[in-house]
Assembly symmetry: D2
Homo-oligomer: 368 residues x 4
């Protein structure tokens, strides 16, 4: 049969495909930069038909191009490849197929693999590899050593995955061992639809890099629609430049935040700057009322709740049944009234979807 | 490497996959049945990574399950398989992978292949095959004969495709030849985003079956979103039962209609019954005004324009800038006023999205 | 000029108005009934141009007809009528204008007035009046006595309104006095966009009826759009029949709940029955996984959070970043997995938008 | 009772009203300017409770402020005032109530009245009045003369209104008479939901000004929602400045277009410039394909159909089932392919919602 294929193929190839005229438009997910850094939108945990995902590698490039991401890794399981029908296929194949598409669309594609083991140490992704095939070793320690030999950045995936840690989310001696040997640098604080508050705490305490990923197996659109999300779970990387090397430097320096549903998770210093760079606000005082007009220049959402508030102030335009929500690119005015004789005060908010500690929103004060 | 895979696989297989707990819900696309027939929603032209589509075969089952379709075919090109990396793979593989998933979700999967040739005769799909490999032959006439030997139902795909018929959409002697030899039974009147009025006319004149298909290569959701459609292009098959054999019988008897964007294309006798079974209407007369309240029990949309109308009647609740639109499951009231002394009249509509002849809407009269 | 008006009017009145042909459709807000009671959707606090609202009284009937409410009161301020340009106009005028429209649309219109005073006692609405003019008295106690003389049901409006109670929401001796004299029977627990948790507590403790109202001054659509709400704040009255007298009986017996944004506020016995009558659920067990499929037959939303949960169970299809939301008329499946060897357990939820005590969601357990 | 009102009012007025803290935001309806002219969005036909509308005059200012209009008239019927309960109320009252609100929100309020008579001459609006009361005269000719004496701009309302012209839309000798005497300057080409193609033709032939109005009686939001419109019917006035005098000058010079649903109706010279100023497009040629990327900088919608097209070109990204729609602020790419050997051609469109003659879309050619 093979010859027929060859025969017909030449004839057919004079015919353009439909798809090539459906020119895509690069998506624009507007997240503010930080002082000195550009904010790169990254997803370092993705599968294709070269492990147990259900789409061809180029689809992953098309998806992130349309979603406005900057960098991804295809992290095929080294050990689990149910859709690979020719077992001699290299673990580098997925990267190699996707790379020309990534280059054409200016997506930074970082070669990676997923080391897929029982707990401990569970599943871990190794980024910045040079040859994935070398990690395919029976002993998990050998796999990690091979990754380290390629100078990989390694993070622990979905640490509280029920299938591996059903009762509690625990840190094992093996993770200490990996960390001490320079073979564990970060943890998934959020993966797909799940937030791991324990991982959030470990990152703060052990100085590990916070990572957020889609862990996409199906079409990303299908996956995020299940939860009515607007975007995949991803990592914001605050990088000096839009290059793979800058991403590596930023990951090493833990300059990241995690973006999952409407939540941004990270260190307060980064989240505060994101907040301030995303929102502009103006104050206008008319009689006893100060109008605070927020203009959201970003695609982030902000859920503001009144904090323990200054008793000399009264909030208007504020339903106390729900948080005050500033939608992406939205403009909103909050009115605050001074009681008689009062001329200044603190408007105290909790940005309840900006998590600066496990399950804890960020406080923010506007002085008026 | 293969042994490592085997080794690890057994360990891993004790771990459930994420995906298997995302139980899907069967979609419900409400299209009325006709008297004596159940209306099956079918798509007979779909690709996967086993030709030039970009998703795994099971994805096609998941998609149609969620969209509420009843039956599909995976019509891999026999001649064009850019994503197949082991050339000895059988042309039946796609079907074999999808079949268990189809059975589990009660989707009727009809084995098929696409014979992919220059014009004439262009591309054609052969349905109800028993072995696709037998159609892989250098001479196209041999391929059609092999399909006929398996008692296939064969239709001509996208007859006016610009890459094959750029200037005009023409019927070739080869199509007459195929028809006369019982090797051409239908034509795509609509494929993906394109309507072929010439094919519409040919089906009416030559008694061929009208077919509508998605010709999906990418995720169907991505494809229909390009045009803000709500559903893929498909064929309504008016079948005696929800079985493959009944579909075959209905296709042979030309009991189909094509559903593309908001348009339904087919013979007037079927479209009229669809219209009447989808809509209920009640008349209420108060003084000189008759209120016609339409209740749309279906997911079809109806775009009504005033026909050449009875001059004794005046329509209210009707903007003459746009057609009167009855949305899926919507309830709408049109008010018609009798001029003084008038007690009955004809309310003449053109259902402009129900095409009973090429580019021609269906007339409908309500007597009040 | 008056004669000209009279003259032209007769000529004009032979011409139908546009508006009368825009026949409206009664809205259908689906809230389940309770055993032995029909759930009536009521708004007992509304203004028109006959006090400081900006629309004609009939607009209020049109609005509630389209929104699917059953009963309303027009509660014009007795003391504040900035838009009344002829001061001799009776306080009953608003009711009289609206009554024929209410009758035509089968809206129960309950004659009422708002007694509008400084705190204490603040603003109160008196329902079931027979003549509003008799309440227009300088001394507020006389106004309440006049209302009582007409056998009115009286409730305290927006008890924590900042303009009257800026620092805290307090109960005054005057309210005790009114209660003891049978002149205070309920409180607004939610009004427009504000929830008063103190009032919620008082109603539970002092056996007062919980009321929710729009306090509409502008077009209701404009008011609720400010907060992206789907409906006005209202009172569910669990009445024996759909009559004014049954409403009175139910208000007296405190058979109400308050509906504000997505929140339902009330006594647990009523909210639990609402929950159970609004949702159907089915359990299906496949291997170790139980699928709980919720079918919401109502227009209520349910926000479920995992309660302190049974450690032998694992939830799927559940993002722990946000509550699990069952939309109006929605169907959702939650998957729960038994760990090995476990065969039953408790699925513990908190329905966080069903407030059974101040700011406290309702617990609900599904045994599987 | 009056004294009680006075008594309580003083006490109450120390309390702020709710409404005054709901600060509104001026809407921004983006319609491009023309060379030398600013495009003002105007509605010269509106009612309030001072004739047969159902809202207070200030509501009309709030509405247009939120919708982004520049100028309006309140055109109370001189002869029909069913909601006026004190018949001595001046016909100027509506204007006087609305004027301070208009000034505060920088809405240009043009004093006007509607002369409301049987056909002929039917209903006409007189703008730029100085005293509406002087138009309240039994003989319609006297009313028009009084308007002319105040130097009014006068236009004929809804010329084909079924209640006055049920069978056909005719021009009467009385309209010729009015025109010749300088008492008829424009016609409503679209009013509320109705387009009058006859009026469109008369304006072109008789050099009358094209006017579009809401003729709002109810809340504008309620009225336009009946037809799922995004905006009220209005007049674009191409004025030298944003002043009442400039509006008058532009109306006299017939520099207007009518905006109704998605349609823009007017002279081709204005519509062409609107089209070109609203859309930017870029051409990019890759191999044989030219990508035309339209960027719509306006809130207008464009419905493009292929015109009789150049046979050497093939359109992609174009479903031939529906027009190609460029949404407000949308970006879209149309791909056009040259057949082999072709290097240029005409892309012919009909902008089917830009009506330059009765029921006739505007042609537009892009040369590539």
């Amino acid at each position: 049969m093979k010859k027929f294929i060859t025969l017909f193929l030449s004839a057919f190839m004079t015919l353009p495909l439909f798809a090539q005229y459906n020119r895509q438009v690069r998506g624009n997910l507007v997240i503010p930069d930080l002082k000195g850094y550009v904010t790169l939108k990254c997803d370092f945990h993705i599968h294709t038909v070269f492990s147990d995902g259900v789409v061809w590698p180029t689809v992953r490039i098309d998806e992130v191009y349309k979603e406005g991401l900057d960098a991804i890794s295809l992290t095929e399981h080294l050990e689990v490849r149910p859709y690979v029908y020719e077992k001699s296929v290299s673990h580098n194949r997925s990267y190699e197929i996707a790379k020309p598409a990534a280059d054409a669309k200016e997506i930074i594609l970082i070669r990676a693999s997923e080391i897929t083991r029982d707990m401990p140490p569970g599943h871990c992704n190794a980024l910045f590899l040079t040859n994935s095939d070398e990690l395919a070793k029976p002993d998990w320690r050998d796999a990690f050593r091979a990754a380290k030999a390629q100078n990989a950045f390694i993070f622990w995936n979905h640490p509280g995955w029920w299938a591996q840690q059903p009762y509690t989310t625990e840190w094992w001696p093996e993770h200490t061992e990996l960390m001490e040997q320079g073979m564990l640098h970060g943890i998934e604080v959020a993966q797909y639809n799940t937030y791991y508050p324990e991982a959030h705490r470990w990152c703060l305490e052990k100085k590990l890099t916070m990572i957020g990923t889609s862990d996409a197996h199906e079409s990303v659109r299908d996956e995020i629609d299940l939860y009515n999300w607007k975007h995949r779970t991803m990592t914001f990387v605050f990088a000096k430049e839009r290059t793979a090397e800058s991403i590596r430097e930023a990951l090493n320096e833990r300059r990241t935040a995690v973006y999952a549903d409407e939540h941004v998770i990270g260190e307060e210093k980064y989240l505060k700057e994101l907040f301030e760079n995303a929102l502009e606000w103006e104050l206008e005082k008319i009689d006893n009322v100060v109008y605070i007009t927020f203009k959201n220049k970003s695609d982030l959402t902000f859920r503001l709740r009144k904090g323990e508030h200054d008793p000399r102030l009264i909030y208007f335009r504020y339903s106390n049944l729900s948080p005050y929500i500033i939608e992406p690119q939205g403009v909103h005015t909050i009115s605050v009234r001074f009681l008689d004789g009062v001329t200044s005060g603190d408007v105290n908010f909790i940005i309840e979807n900006f998590l600066v500690e496990p399950n804890t929103g960020m406080r923010y004060v506007i002085k008026i």
